[in-house]
Amino acid sequence: MPEPMHTEDWQSHISRIEQLARAQGLKYHPVEFEVVPESFMTEIAIYGLPVRMPHWSFGVRYIYQLIQHRMGLSRLFEVVFPGNPGRAYLAKSNSAAENVLVTAHVLGHADFSANNMLFRRSQDQVGEHIVEQAAAHARQIAMAIEEHGLERVELVLDAALSLEQHIDIDQGLRRPRYPETIAERSPPANDEFAKRFASLGPDTARPTHSGPAKKAPIPPHPESDLLWFIAQYAPEMEPWERDIFLAVREESFYFYPVFACQIMNEGWASYWHARLLREADFLPAASYVDAIKCHSDVVRPTATGDNVALATNPYHLGFSIWEKIVESRGLEAARRIMAEDDDFSFVRNHLTHELATELKLFRFKGPATGTLTVQDMDLPMLHEALLHPKYGFGAPRVSAAHIHVDGKLELVHDHVTDGRGLDPERARKVLEYVAKVWRRPVTMTTVDNDQRTVEISVSPGLTPSFTR
């Protein structure tokens, strides 16, 4: 049993831990700590944000989480949100010793999110107050519900949240519409031939406009930023509905770095809580031991001794890679890597053959049911197997390909890159959500198990259209 928390003990330690952190070169925005009940921690974990828009799907996750929690499968110590100030929520059930560790861990995260490029780019675009912005979105949606009724708002959220992962992170948060016309190609300046041709006389002057400007196709290329595309180009979407799509998209922009830097970020925070703890000589010996025990629980390989696990612990993986980097190349180099990498480059560049062997990582393969076989150690393959679930939020690659003359939206699935087709039933349901806001038929292509093209089409016809 953890000892009950003495708020004062921990409070008095915070400033000393911060001093230690800054002395070690951690640079971060101020962090506001708040101790919250576990029920609230659970909700933060489910919604991803302390206050977020209401949707029934969160209720389902909430119940799953409660079931898991009762089975003792998960325990949350802290959740931290980047920003200026950063916000850290600590579970009330943490012991004082655990909270010392958690505080150091939070400072590691704060340092990471203030310096890592992906995080900085996201905060440049989304802003440094995501907690407040998400609360504003929730309020915006509450007002929409009041004005338009729960059913209508829910239809929009059903569609927007089901496409939550389908954004193009390489585009700006606020991106302009496509050009309406194909730009006329201007003649190259200082072209010798053009000069001589022009010198022949006035009759040969090039006509400035060779007719009406050519209309550009929409989209000009397959568009993977589905939330943006639908919000911009849906034929009859109402402004408040577009706003909901854009609010969901904004939150996805915030979530992306959290998702794409998980190994690095958790590893970095774990590295720093371990290091700061070692130097925290002001802690009583008993608390120190408790905190170290907590550390080893969190940063634990999924399998110890002779055991074998079919998963890895990102805390352990990230922590081990960071330790190795600092050990072999120094803190300076580590900080640079922290600022510039994301999980993709981090794992590929720094999970070496030697380290992978030391960590006893292995690739496995086998039929969906039955016995799995351990594969040969092939480092690039190992990297890809680790990173494969992380591309684009781990969602299938679906893009908008074409808007037909009658307004029908055509989506395509890049089954070649994804390796196989979409689950057709789920895809149909998603199209049903989308058709209700697109208000025209929506169709898409993917492949079945034999790589034959499958077309799925949905009309909004059966549902009432809400034009007034």
Partner: protein
């Protein structure tokens, strides 16, 4: 560095002080919304669910319907017939690993199914279901036969200066007191606050009310040809027919009659367990019903409904008698319905008893017959009878 922004306000919260999140759970709110959606989805399939479910046992006032959690769909790749990933631990290339037992056990522990979804049970009040169904299927409410059964009831009517203490009307008495004091003050007499003359008592009077008493007579053929399946269908039909009538009548009495070549009256709990041998003599059952009506339920006092369930095979020699008995009984009833439980789906009832009802129904709106072959048809039967019964009355 002294840049210390360490939760100066919130971090110092004393344990007794509640944050807003102590008062409100968003997770619970969204879960309730999910349940509402499930309820709506279940509602749309209620006729199938309640017809098929064994809802009649134990006289419970609720039905428990197992449901799966709704899935919020996203694009997902189809299940691969191959699995790969990264593991960790003591393993050499070529080692073969069985799947950990634990996984499947966990799923079972969660009440999982093959989709990994959690199943749970929603409880519906039968009253609510009946309301929904009536609304959904646009079923009419039955009306008591006009000008027929009457009953006396007490109604409040006026005030008196004398009466039982319990019917003292304080407000009225106070008004009288104020009026009296107003008059007396004008004449300069000093007046007590209350006198016996101020008191007013509510009075009751006897008034005639249309009768709201009703009796449903359920007549079931329990001859050898009525098997378990036929009984189950009859039972389910009876149940919902009764529920529909309950909406309309405050006091609903039930009479259970079973017959083969003889007829007996039963208590509810025994009624559905009765098995008889031998053939069907419909007139025996109908005569028994007639006898019960004469003895206990005067048509001038009661709204009488008869529902008769049978496979309809009657002895040909009994047909004339059955016809006479039916004509007598139906004359006493607000409505008489025949449920023909046939092995095969078909259109109109064409059994011996069925034909008797159909013939009679041509001239008499208060008689009807409907043929069912499975639990799916029960709702059509309920609709058929109730639509016709409301027109017939």
């Amino acid at each position: 560095m002294s840049d210390n922004a360490t939760g100066s306000d919130s971090g110092n919260r004393t344990p007794g002080e509640a944050g807003w999140y102590d008062l409100f759970s968003r997770g619970a709110r969204d879960w309730l919304r999910h349940n509402d959606k499930v309820r709506d989805a279940v509602r749309q399939h209620l006729p199938q669910i309640v017809a098929g479910a064994d809802v009649l046992t134990g006289g419970a006032s609720t039905v428990r319907v197992p449901v799966k959690m709704l899935e919020h769909y996203r694009f997902r790749l189809r299940n691969s017939n191959e699995q790969q990933g990264v593991g960790q631990g003591q393993a050499k290339p070529g080692d073969r690993i069985g799947r950990p037992q634990q996984d499947s056990e966990n799923q079972r522990g969660q009440g999982g199914n093959e989709d990994g979804g959690v199943q749970y049970t929603l409880e519906f009040r039968i009253d609510d279901i009946v309301d929904w169904l009536w609304e959904e299927m646009k079923l009419p409410n039955l009306e008591a036969k006009a000008g027929r059964a009457k009953e006396d009831d007490w109604t409040r009517e006026g005030w008196d200066r004398r009466g039982a203490r319990s019917r003292l009307d304080r407000r009225r008495s106070m008004k009288e007191s104020i009026k009296r004091r107003g008059v007396q003050a004008a004449t300069g007499v000093e007046s007590p606050s209350f006198t016996d003359d101020d008191l007013r008592y509510r009075q009751l009077a006897k008034r005639e009310q249309p009768a709201m008493q009703a009796v449903v007579i359920l007549l079931l053929d329990v001859s050898g040809s009525m098997g378990e399946r036929e009984r189950q269908i009859s039972k389910t039909f009876f149940f919902w027919a009764i529920q529909g009538l309950r909406r309309q009548y405050r006091h609903l009495e039930l009479v259970f009659v079973a017959h083969t070549s003889e007829a007996w009256e039963f208590e509810e709990d025994e009624f559905f367990k009765v098995t008889g041998t031998g053939g069907t003599v419909a007139s025996a059952g109908l005569k028994k019903v007639r006898q019960i009506i004469e003895e206990r339920y005067s048509p001038s006092q009661y709204n009488i409904y008869l529902f008769y369930a049978s496979d309809g095979e009657n002895f040909p020699s009994d047909q004339p008698q059955a016809q006479i008995a039916l004509e007598e009984v139906s004359g006493d009833c607000n409505y008489s319905g025949f449920l023909e439980v046939a092995p095969l789906a078909g259109s109109a009832p064409d059994s011996e008893i069925g034909r008797l009802f159909v013939d009679l129904a041509r001239d008499d709106d208060s008689v009807g017959a409907y043929r069912v072959s499975g639990t799916d048809d029960i709702w059509n039967a309920v609709r058929h009878f109730f639509t016709h019964a409301s027109q017939g009355s």
